[in-house]
Amino acid sequence: MIHIKRLQEDGADVIAIIGEIDASSSIELDLAIAKSVGEGYEKILVDCSALEYISSAGLGVFMSYIDEFKDKKIAMVLYGMSDKVANTFQILGLDELLHIAKDKSEAKAMINELQV
């Protein structure tokens, strides 16, 4: 149900999520982010433009990295969310804890700002 692609752009790791994230597929998302962190990336962009649905378990994955990113000074920006997905983030208050941009260019600008 889920497909995760990683590619590198301007020193940032871009993780594209395609499909739905539920309890079982959230493990793959967790692995992808953990890999990116393990490889030493300090800029992580998450492309949510093809993300159709995210369950609480999926949100839990993003949430679980908040403290770790703060400690390691890693910046993560999510972008391209549909209204529905964005709403899920908003309800839980994750929009206040994560950096969410509208599109890729805004996300890149935001991540460079965060890194300064």
């Binding site: 309890a23 609480s56 839990g60 679980s64 403290d67 309800i91 839980l92 208050g93 994750l94 804890l97």
Partner: protein, 684 residues
């Protein structure tokens, strides 16, 4: 009961026909002796004799043929006993004649005829008894053809009775043809001796003795009867003579032939009895292994049975069973662990690969490796691997003091045993697992009950509002929580919460939430403060990635205001009666457990609003808005709001029912994907 009455009736008939036979035969004899024309037809005694035979035939048929309890030896014993009684009575009559000595009576032909008729009655009874018994023995393992052949023989014999019943002119060729046919049929049938194989050694000896005596009785009976018949014949040609009676003659020959055959077959089977017995024991042992699983025994007892049965099947002098599944274990028979260890070490030292170690995959005869081991009493060794689910869990080793002590047959048998033991152990483990699962299910059921009791049965009541709540879990236990608590006469606290994830973990966190609510809400703290403290308490026990969304309310019925704080839970759906509008409250808030530091304080905000009569507040969990139908569409916020807009004038309970029924007809599926909870509050 009917069968018993039948047996009695037939016995009576037998007795009556025999008495009739005696009476008529003597009347005919006396008439002829005195050269008078008999008052009764001369064929009447013959007819009565045949009726007597028929009665006895069916008497024994009912008595012996359908008696399930009788075994082979019992049958032989019955035949023997009948023969014994007949012979004893006959001998007693001889003694009486002897004692009467030279008096006139013993030489009187009427007396001799009477003695003859008693003898013939006893002999026929004995013959038919034996015939019925032999029938059971012959038909012990029957085939279609054997049954047909036997039916031909039996009915043929009965039909031959007709021939003898009346004074038909005697046709020699027919008479001889019939006799020869029955003789040959009896001979062929006598080839069925399969029952002999099922006797054990002792039973065979008993059988031999019983058969020998039976044969003796037959000969004696035949001799006595023909002796008397000869004397009677001299006086009168018309009497119930059996010597030209096809039925009786055929019966005598058949019973005698079968008795002699049985005797000889048993005799020649004696030396091989032990082999058959051993085979039988193997089958029984095999059953023991395969059934050991069903009788609540442990794996250990399967091993023990395997060891015992293998040893007894191949007459091994010693054996051991090495099990290495979880921990190494050695079961031994007639051998010390040290001795066994020496042999294993020896074989390992000589690099006998893949035999007593786990790598072996087949049975192997290792005797030649044993010859180099000094100080060992054993000269033969055979090793078998035991497999459970294709995994070698142990080795069975059998030892003999003789060189070349194992033959191929033995190897095969023990190989089968060890395979079966493997299957039994596998079954045993599967059964354990199934039981364990059953236990878990039971525990889960208990957990469900406990969890149900965590949700309030009765919600707080107030004049200012009515309230209804509903909750259903997707799994046995769920992670949704709602509750109410009266803090003071004018203030009631409400809460709705949803633990991320499902199942048992979610249920545990839900119970923690209940504890936190009941301890914190008591003090009537500000809703935002409640969230901060609840977050503090929860971050210590929530695992990474888990969180709880909640909304806490303080409803003040005097000031008619509500103060609340939203901790990341689905926004409140509210109907304003004054403006006749439905809206979702747009406020900010973060779920509990998301922020693991004091920074959570920055995100917790208390909001306040006043309620008016007719206002409706709908609280729910995301299971409702995210419920999907077959097309994959979500139930969504708009549908929920629409239901409230339509049903705003109804009572809290009715609005709730409307929501749930709409939801169920929307999702159309039997099972739930998530936990559903709603709480509807209608203000008066």
């Amino acid at each position: 009961m009917r069968a018993r009455a039948m047996i009695r009736l037939l016995f009576m008939m037998g007795a009556i026909t025999w008495l009739g036979l005696v009476f008529t035969d003597i009347v005919v004899l006396i008439s002829i002796k005195n050269s008078l024309e008999p008052d009764i037809p001369v064929w009447l005694p013959k007819l009565l004799l045949n009726l007597f035979i028929l009665s006895l035939f069916y008497y024994y048929k009912f008595k012996i043929e359908h008696d399930e309890v009788l075994n082979f030896i019992d049958l032989l014993w019955r035949v023997f006993a009948t023969g014994l009684i007949a012979t004893v009575i006959s001998l007693a009559l001889r003694l009486v004649s002897y004692l009467l000595g030279n008096t006139k009576l013993p030489s009187d032909v009427v007396y001799i005829d009477l003695v003859y008729l008693i003898n013939i009655g006893l002999m026929i009874s004995f013959l038919i008894m034996a015939f019925t018994a032999w029938k059971r023995l012959i038909l012990y393992q029957k085939s279609k053809w054997l049954l047909r052949f036997w039916a031909f023989f039996e009915y043929g014999l009965l039909i031959s009775l007709l021939y003898n019943s009346f004074n038909f002119p005697r046709i020699d060729w027919l008479y001889i043809a019939m006799l020869v046919t029955f003789l040959l049929t009896g001979l062929v049938l006598s080839g069925n001796m399969k029952w002999v194989a099922y006797l054990n050694f002792r039973q065979k000896w008993t059988g031999l003795l019983l058969l020998l005596l039976t044969i003796f009785y037959l000969l004696y009976g035949f001799y006595t009867s023909s002796d008397y018949a000869g004397i009677v014949e001299k006086t009168s040609p018309e009497f119930a003579d059996y010597r030209d009676h096809v039925f009786i003659l055929s019966l005598i020959s058949f019973v005698t032939i079968y008795s002699v055959f049985s005797f000889l077959v048993i005799l020649f089977n004696l030396p091989t009895t032990s082999v058959f017995e051993q085979k039988l024991e193997e089958v029984v042992n095999f059953q023991r292994i395969s059934q050991s699983i069903q009788t609540e025994q442990s794996e250990e007892s399967v091993y023990k049975i395997l060891l015992e049965t293998s040893v007894s099947s191949v007459f091994a002098d010693a054996a051991w069973l090495e099990i290495s599944s979880s921990e190494k274990k050695l079961y031994t028979y007639n051998i010390t662990e040290k001795e066994a260890g020496d042999i294993i070490d020896h074989l390992n030292k000589h690099q006998v690969r893949g035999i007593l170690d786990q790598g072996s995959d087949k049975t192997r005869n290792l005797s030649r490796y044993l010859s180099t081991l000094k100080n060992s009493r054993f000269r033969s060794i055979l090793a078998f691997p035991i497999y459970v689910k294709n995994e070698n869990i142990g080795i069975l080793a059998l030892l003999k003091e003789l060189p070349d002590g194992f033959n191929r047959e033995m190897t095969k048998i023990v190989s089968t045993f060890s395979n079966q033991a493997g299957i039994s152990i596998e079954n045993f483990r599967l059964m354990e697992e199934a039981l364990q699962n059953e236990r878990y299910k039971e525990e889960l059921k208990i957990a469900k009950n406990v969890q149900k009791s965590l949700l309030p049965e009765i919600l707080e009541k107030s004049d200012a509002f009515e309230i209804a709540a509903f909750s259903e879990s997707a799994d046995e236990v769920g992670g949704d929580y709602y509750d109410t608590l009266r803090i003071s006469p004018e203030i009631v606290s409400l809460i709705i919460a949803d633990v991320s994830g499902k199942g048992t973990t979610a249920a545990f966190h839900m119970s923690q939430m209940k504890g936190i609510f009941h301890s914190l809400a008591q003090d009537c703290i500000e809703p935002a403060e409640f969230l901060v403290k609840a977050n503090q308490a929860l971050v210590k026990c929530l695992e990474r990635g888990s969180f709880i969304s909640a909304i806490i309310f303080l409803v003040n019925t005097t000031t008619r205001t509500i103060r609340y704080a939203r901790g990341g839970h689905c926004p409140v759906l509210y109907y304003h009666a004054t403006t006749d509008q439905v809206e979702y409250f747009k406020d900010k808030g973060v779920a509990l457990g998301m922020i693991r530091s004091n920074a959570y304080r920055n995100f917790a905000r208390t909001e306040e609003f006043s309620f008016c009569p007719g206002d409706v507040m709908v609280l729910y969990t995301d299971g409702i808005t995210e419920a999907k139908n077959a097309k994959g569409e979500e139930f969504g916020y708009d549908r929920l709001a629409a239901i409230l807009a339509e049903s705003k004038h109804l009572s809290a309970r009715e609005i709730q029912d409307r929501i749930i029924s709409t939801l169920y007809s929307f999702s159309e599926s039997e099972g739930l994907d998530d936990d559903y909870t709603t709480m509807v509050i209608k203000f008066n």
